[in-house]
């Protein structure tokens, strides 16, 4: 049994956006992301926006893994490995922060390269379970290895990425640039020959293998790439917060990344992006009564999953179908 409902796969057909809508849309969104700070220079908004663009890195990189048919419940742990590699190389070995970011990407990628060939042979729910346990073990290492990681207190006192980039607005633009680069990379991969191959692995692994696709090698490469990218998020997060501790990389955070993908929609790149905005921004918009806001958040999750099993991207498909049937009717 595959972990996916066939119903979702059918819905996917309707998401294909025609090119003449896609590019102006992307340009519009990018212009908005670059331009809004000029009109609303509000520190609170900067914080939320930085969190959104950072989480977009994690959600889209997880999306790459999900497209191969594997749902990782340990993605935030890899983010943590990246963050700790980055922070330790800067604070302990005095490397320049930019080099630290590179090491923060290399660390989780290396870890993924070691464990990927073993765990990616597991299918469906077993992969979910094993990544969940791996994530917990990695988190326990962060907590228990106090001499290096500082235990539950974490590591604080991180320098800014660059002395000239200390202001919130500069941080936002750095994170935005990294995020756009990551999303663009994922979009390029998914729309290429490799992207088709990835989809074929998810839909019918045996058939793909018989057609000459090096299944395990491709899955490991995607896993390594995705874990490297989420390591970048970890590094940037550390520079943004000037502080890291194990709770930022727990199973709750991994689950959050999965939730972003599932709530948005698992089978197109738009899904995790919509999901990220929704999951990060919604709790902030419902601010006021903190507990009540969490209750609403939970109820909204239930309603979204019950009403739109294919995620929020499904709204567009449904709207379009509704529109076309209406137009058919009026034409008659």
């Amino acid at each position: 049994m595959s972990a996916f409902d066939t119903a979702i796969v059918d819905e996917r057909q309707s998401f294909a956006v025609s090119r003449n809508v896609l590019w102006p849309g992307v340009a519009l969104i990018l212009a908005f992301l670059v331009g809004w700070p000029l009109f609303a220079p509000n520190p609170f908004l900067f914080t939320i926006a930085t969190f959104i663009v950072l989480n977009a890195i994690g959600a889209t990189s997880l999306h790459l893994i999900i497209r191969t048919g594997h749902i990782s419940l340990g993605h935030a742990a890899f983010m943590g490995v990246g963050a700790y590699c980055c922070v330790l190389s800067v604070t302990r070995f005095g490397l320049p922060p930019v080099l630290g970011l590179v090491i923060g990407m290399a660390g989780p990628a290396l870890l993924a390269l070691i464990i990927g060939p073993v765990v990616l042979r597991l299918m469906g729910k077993y992969f979910v379970l094993v990544t969940f346990l791996l994530g917990e073990i990695i988190r326990m290492v962060f907590v228990e290895w106090t001499s290096v990681t500082g235990g539950s207190n974490g590591i604080s006192g991180l320098p800014p990425l660059h002395p000239s980039l200390a202001s919130p607005i500069a941080t936002y633009y750095v994170c935005l640039a990294a995020s756009v680069a990551c999303v663009a990379l994922c979009a390029r991969i998914l729309s290429s020959e490799v992207g088709r191959t990835i989809d074929s692995i998810r839909e019918a692994e045996k058939v793909a293998e018989c057609s000459g696709v090096p299944v395990i090698r491709l899955k490991v490469s995607i896993f390594v790439l995705a874990c490297g990218l989420v390591g970048l998020q970890g590094g940037l997060l550390a520079f943004f917060l000037h502080y890291i501790d194990p709770t930022s990389f727990s199973m709750v955070e991994s689950l959050n990344l999965v939730v972003m993908n599932v709530v948005g929609g698992m089978y197109s790149l738009g899904g995790p992006l919509i999901g990220t905005v929704f999951i990060v921004a919604l709790p902030e918009l419902l601010r006021g009564y903190v507990e009540l806001q969490r209750v609403f958040f939970g109820i909204i999750l239930i309603v979204v999953m019950a009403a739109l099993p294919g995620g929020m991207v499904e709204i567009f498909g449904r709207a379009r179908r509704l529109l076309s049937t209406q137009m058919d009717r009026t034409a008659r």
């Binding site: 409902d5 073993v118 999750l301």
Partner: protein
């Protein structure tokens, strides 16, 4: 270090831990096996069981045995409302259920934060006495807990293997469509399985809250343990959950007594990962 006293104490501790873990994991695996829902809200039902016991036993002062049974019964009955409102949407949808029920968990936990506040409370012990066997000191309320759990588990076993409803449930767990063609009303079976699962979770939650502490967030640990125990035994396998709960309970008790809780967590998680890689369907599960 390995004296009989400490070994005996660790054994007793393992016994009560196993009882709690088996109760929680059985319900979790039952829901997964029959309805294919991953109940991430299981821990919150255990927490509700803890609060129900707190009010019935600690505040109202009912006798212990009726109080704990009534609290589990009450939570399970109230849970049936959620079955109609929430769970019904997610049957046979493993993936959507994970996220949707995670939302339910958040909603329940934070509703409890609003209603009961976040501070930890404690439930008074059921019995004060202590049994002394040589050097071994046995608190009698631990024995009572183990006895209650054993009786409930025995009743569950009898229900599943001796009654027609139990048979119908096992049939539905094996293949829903074929069970339906044989005239089994799966809608009713789902409700029944849900009730039984929540009953056991709430009971275990009451016991857990009594041994440790009661707070709106206490459900996280039982949920995590249920998840790992069910993986260990095999997703959806009922004997597997029982065996997994016993192994995990005793393993945790002995390892944390002798080597500390960090070692215990590393060893148990590492062992489960190794098992998943070599035998992904668990100890007593069936390969697909």
């Amino acid at each position: 270090m390995f004296t009989t006293t400490i070994l005996g104490q660790a054994f007793l501790n393992g016994l009560s831990l196993s009882a709690i873990y088996v109760l929680i994991a059985l319900g979790f695996t039952l829901l997964f096996g029959i309805m294919k829902v991953v109940n991430f809200a299981h821990g919150s039902f255990a927490m509700l069981g803890g609060y129900a016991l707190y009010y019935l036993y600690g505040v109202l002062g009912l006798p212990y045995l009726p109080a704990i049974l009534l609290s589990a019964f009450g939570v399970a009955t109230a849970g049936l409302v959620l079955e109609v409102l929430v769970f019904r949407w997610f049957y046979q949808k493993m993936f959507q259920s994970m996220i949707g029920l995670l939302g339910l968990n958040i909603a329940i936990v934070f509703t409890c934060v609003i209603v009961f506040d976040v501070y930890e409370r404690s439930i008074p012990p059921a019995l004060d006495g202590v049994l002394q066997c040589g050097d071994l000191i046995i608190p009698t309320d631990r024995l009572l807990v183990v006895a209650i759990a054993a009786v409930v588990l025995l009743a569950f076993w009898a229900f599943m293997s001796l009654t027609r409803y139990g048979l119908a449930m096992r049939a539905a767990a094996q293949d829903v469509e074929i069970a339906e063609t044989q005239g089994i009303r799966t809608g009713q079976i789902y409700k029944l399985a849900f009730f039984v699962a929540i009953f056991m979770a709430a009971l275990a939650g009451g016991i857990y809250a009594q041994i440790y502490a009661l707070s709106p967030f206490m459900g996280d640990r039982p949920l995590m343990v249920a998840f790992v125990v069910v993986i260990l035994g095999g997703m959806g396998s009922i004997p597997g959950a029982a065996l997994g709960g016993i192994i995990f309970g005793f393993g945790e008790s002995f390892l944390s007594t002798f080597y500390g809780s960090a070692v215990s967590s590393f060893v148990s998680f590492g062992a489960v990962i190794a098992l998943l890689i070599l035998r992904p369907w668990g100890l007593l599960g069936v390969p697909e």
